[in-house]
């Protein structure tokens, strides 16, 4: 099914739309700057600025997309870069730049569109919050940074925007900083992603050192272009890796942090402390997708030197990590009770899918799932936000129930999102994107294990989503107060996203693989007979089985029942130990606490001891020495120098006294002295001349 990709024809002149591409991230950042100096009561202005800048960015993104699309449909590839030197140090220059190609065009449209919808949704959700203005400032800043990551052609510019994304994510997770749990969650997010970023930075430095350029595409001299990649394959590093493989793994470490892959996923569930629009934007659609996007961007590096597609060491690691994450997070999601936490673990699981898709199937497979997931996960989060708003800030699913009667619109859109996530065949985009991943995994030459893991994960996904939906929307209402539907400003974006959650599937069907063709730059035609291929039909059957098993099991256990909050869960009654382990999130956080964090506490104590006792003692000793040296000096000065001086003066004084006795005023004594002198002089005179 894959056609040979035609190499992108190099563009010598960037088109005008490419030259203005920098406006897309710049407008939201400027809006953020203006909002930051506004006074708090100017709420409407703040949100209008943010939404306006995002809207204009959307328009520009769409025109860029149209430009690329027209180029593609005309048969020539569009990859336009605009590079410039930021600093020059001697002969080296730090190059920055942006790129407009199918990958970035698609991502731009997705980010601006979903972002715009979430901005609008936020005006309703954050209506009663007093820090409305600050919220929009951070949101706009985040959007600008994310768009910067998307268009970056220079790995340094990408990293700078990457870090800015991390910063704004910290600010937004800890938006309600008065809550200690929120502040702790923000810190956790920042530090965990930081761990990944260290490896990312190492990868950047190594890549720059090896290839000599920071740019991805630079008329043949960029680091993603064949010349540089060939050079990277020649160098060998440790453990049988080539330089390309090693750098790829380092960069994947950074992506793993941002996208919540297995060892570094711990921050994502805690990040639900932030407001729901934040969860929707950052932790469903955009920021966590940045990691996947990064891998897609440096895919040529990851895939360099592969014998068969998707079989380099780097991509193998990506696949295994992704598959493991998918299963792992899905298992934990089964035992959670907080509505947003279930969705958070679901996000982690789906990110695992995307990474696995990148690993086994390439850029198009992974990116397709990213795009569809962005829409239906944002939809689910915003829907959960609507639910929370409707039940007066209650987040425990066991205290909800029967909401389909009270919140029909929310229920409808939420159901669409849930079905898309479960991968219900044919009608929902999630099916098509997940199917593509399963198909590629099935055909992976190295192992079939990821395929089975991903299938198992899909079953679990269907199961826990059914559990969640039945808790929230079915049964009796177990909460307090009166549940009500959310205002139009919140439900309209839900509806729009629901439409896309269904419609986007069209672009990725095997009959018309437009998305893949667009990204890989070859022609795509509608071929209905692709539906008839046995491999595909097998896959369709597998998906149907997955969905039926998952949803059926979930409905059978949880169905229309309405368990109270204090009752143990049905599954818990069945398998208590398993439930405890899953409910405690497989004790990963505790593991980290016991090892890494405990180590750091111990190290901090050691450092404190060294500082306080050793350096402190040294300082005290120096002080003591100086003190006593000063005293010694004082002693020497006072007694010896002064004393000697005083003694000398005293002696002179006494001597003077002695000599003064000669001057006794008595003439007779003077006369005697005179006589003595005369005698002596006479003696000398008379007898000195004798021979």
């Amino acid at each position: 099914m894959m056609q040979e990709a035609i190499a992108f024809t190099p563009q010598l002149d960037a088109s005008s739309i490419a030259r203005w591409l920098w406006l897309i991230p710049a407008l939201p950042i400027v809006a953020a700057g203006i909002i930051s100096v506004l006074k708090q009561p100017r709420r409407r202005l703040a949100s209008n600025l943010a939404i306006g800048s995002m809207g204009i960015s959307l328009l520009i993104a769409m025109s860029a997309f149209v430009h690329v699309l027209s180029g593609w449909s005309n048969g020539h590839a569009v990859r336009e870069v605009v590079n410039f030197s930021w600093l020059t140090v001697g002969t080296q220059a730090v190059e920055l730049g942006w790129v407009l190609d199918p990958l970035s065009a698609v991502m731009l449209v997705m980010v601006t569109f979903v972002g715009l919808l979430i901005f609008i949704y936020s005006t309703g959700y954050m209506e009663h919050d007093e820090n409305y203005t600050r919220f929009f400032c951070f949101l706009a800043l985040f959007a600008g940074a994310m768009l910067g990551v998307v268009i970056a052609n220079s790995i340094l510019l990408l990293f700078m925007c990457w870090e800015l994304v991390g910063l704004t994510s910290y600010l937004l997770i800890g938006f309600w900083y008065h809550k200690p749990s929120a502040a702790a969650a923000a810190r956790k997010a920042f530090i965990t992603t930081r761990v990944g970023d260290i490896f990312f930075l190492l990868g950047i430095v190594w890549l720059f050192a090896q290839t000599g350029t920071l740019l991805f595409y630079d008329r043949g001299a960029g680091s993603m272009e064949p010349l540089a990649l060939g050079g990277l394959l020649v160098h060998h590093s440790h453990w049988g890796l080539t330089a390309a493989g090693a750098i790829g793994l380092l960069i994947f470490a950074g992506a793993a942090g941002k996208s919540g892959q297995l060892p570094l996923h711990v921050w994502l569930p805690d990040a639900m402390e932030g407001p729901t629009p934040v969860s929707a934007l950052i932790h469903a659609a955009t920021m966590v997708a940045a990691g996947v996007y990064l891998i897609a961007r440096v895919y040529p590096l990851m895939a360099a030197g592969a014998i068969a597609p998707g079989t380099t060491t780097a991509l193998t690691v990506v696949t295994w990590v992704g598959a493991s994450t998918a299963v792992f997070a899905a298992l934990i999601a089964v035992a959670q009770n907080d509505i947003k936490r279930i969705l958070a673990y679901s996000t982690v699981s789906q990110l695992g899918y995307m990474m696995a898709g990148l690993g086994v199937g390439g850029v198009a497979v992974g990116m397709f799932h990213l795009i569809t997931h962005a829409f239906f996960k944002a939809l689910l989060f915003m829907g959960s936000g609507s639910v929370i708003h409707g039940v007066h800030e209650e987040q425990d699913t066991r205290r909800m129930g029967g909401l389909r009667k009270y919140m029909p619109l929310t229920f409808l859109t939420y159901a669409v999102g849930m079905l898309a996530l479960c991968g219900v065949p044919i009608f929902f985009s999630g099916f098509w994107s997940k199917d593509a991943i399963l198909e590629s995994a099935h055909g992976w030459p190295l192992s079939h294990a990821p395929y089975y893991m991903l299938v198992f994960g899909a079953v679990l996904t269907a199961f826990y989503m059914t559990r969640q939906v039945s808790y929230v929307f079915f049964g009796e209402y177990r909460g307090h107060g009166h549940a009500h539907e959310s205002p139009r400003v919140m439900t309209t974006p839900l509806a729009i996203l629901a439409v896309f959650a269904v419609a986007l599937g069209v672009i990725g069907t095997p009959a018309w693989p437009w998305f893949r063709a667009f990204l890989e730059n070859h022609a795509a035609s509608v071929e209905m007979h692709a539906f008839a291929e046995p491999a595909w039909l097998m896959l369709l059957l597998t998906s149907c089985v997955i969905v039926i098993v998952g949803i059926g099991l979930g409905w059978w256990i949880y169905g229309n029942k309405s368990p109270r909050a204090d009752e143990p869960d049905a599954l818990e009654k069945a398998i208590p130990p398993l439930w405890t382990v899953l409910a405690n999130r497989l004790y990963i956080d505790e593991l980290y606490g016991a090892t890494v964090i405990a180590f750091y506490y111990w190290w901090a104590k050691v450092a404190d001891w060294i500082d306080r006792d050793i350096w402190g003692d040294m300082v005290s000793t120096v002080i003591w020495l100086t003190n006593h040296w000063a005293r010694l000096n004082k002693f020497l000065d006072a007694t010896m120098v002064d004393g000697a001086f005083d003694k000398g003066c005293e002696e002179i004084y006494n001597g003077g006294g002695v000599l003064a006795r000669i001057q006794n005023g008595r003439g007779q004594i003077y006369l005697r002295l005179l006589a003595v002198a005369v005698v002596i002089l006479a003696a000398i005179l008379i007898w000195s001349g004798r021979p």
Partner: protein
Amino acid sequence: MDFVFYLISAFAVGGALAAVLLKNLVHAALALTIAFFGLALLFLRLDAQFAGFAQILVYVGAVAILVVFAILLTKGSEVPREGVFSKSWFAGLAIAAGVFAVLARAVLQAAPSLPNQTAVPAVTVNDIGNALMSRYVLPLEIIAVLLTAALLGAVIVAMHEKERAKQ
């Protein structure tokens, strides 16, 4: 050296010793007079008649009298309680002895080279007068001034005190 010389010398030296050693000041002053006399006789023996008689006139006739007057005016006739010699008289004696030793040694050493004209000088008072008026007229005049000054000075020094004492 003949006997007369030794006799007169003994006279002079004895008088000098007595003048210095006697406790009673008046006796000492009189002994001084005897010493002056002895010296005058030595002058006469040296054929310096004018000097000898001048010695008698001035020293014996004026200075010695002055000394006696001074002694009497300062109640020196009473013997003082603490003694007439200073506490460190031995040092003074030693110094004087040293001086004498130096002088005597010098004289005895130079004795062979000293002039020794034994002819009696034919000098008359007339010659002395002529010399005073011709060759030595300047010293003469200066001496005159000096004596006037001394006279005035002595009067002033002695008299001022009297007037102040009265007030």
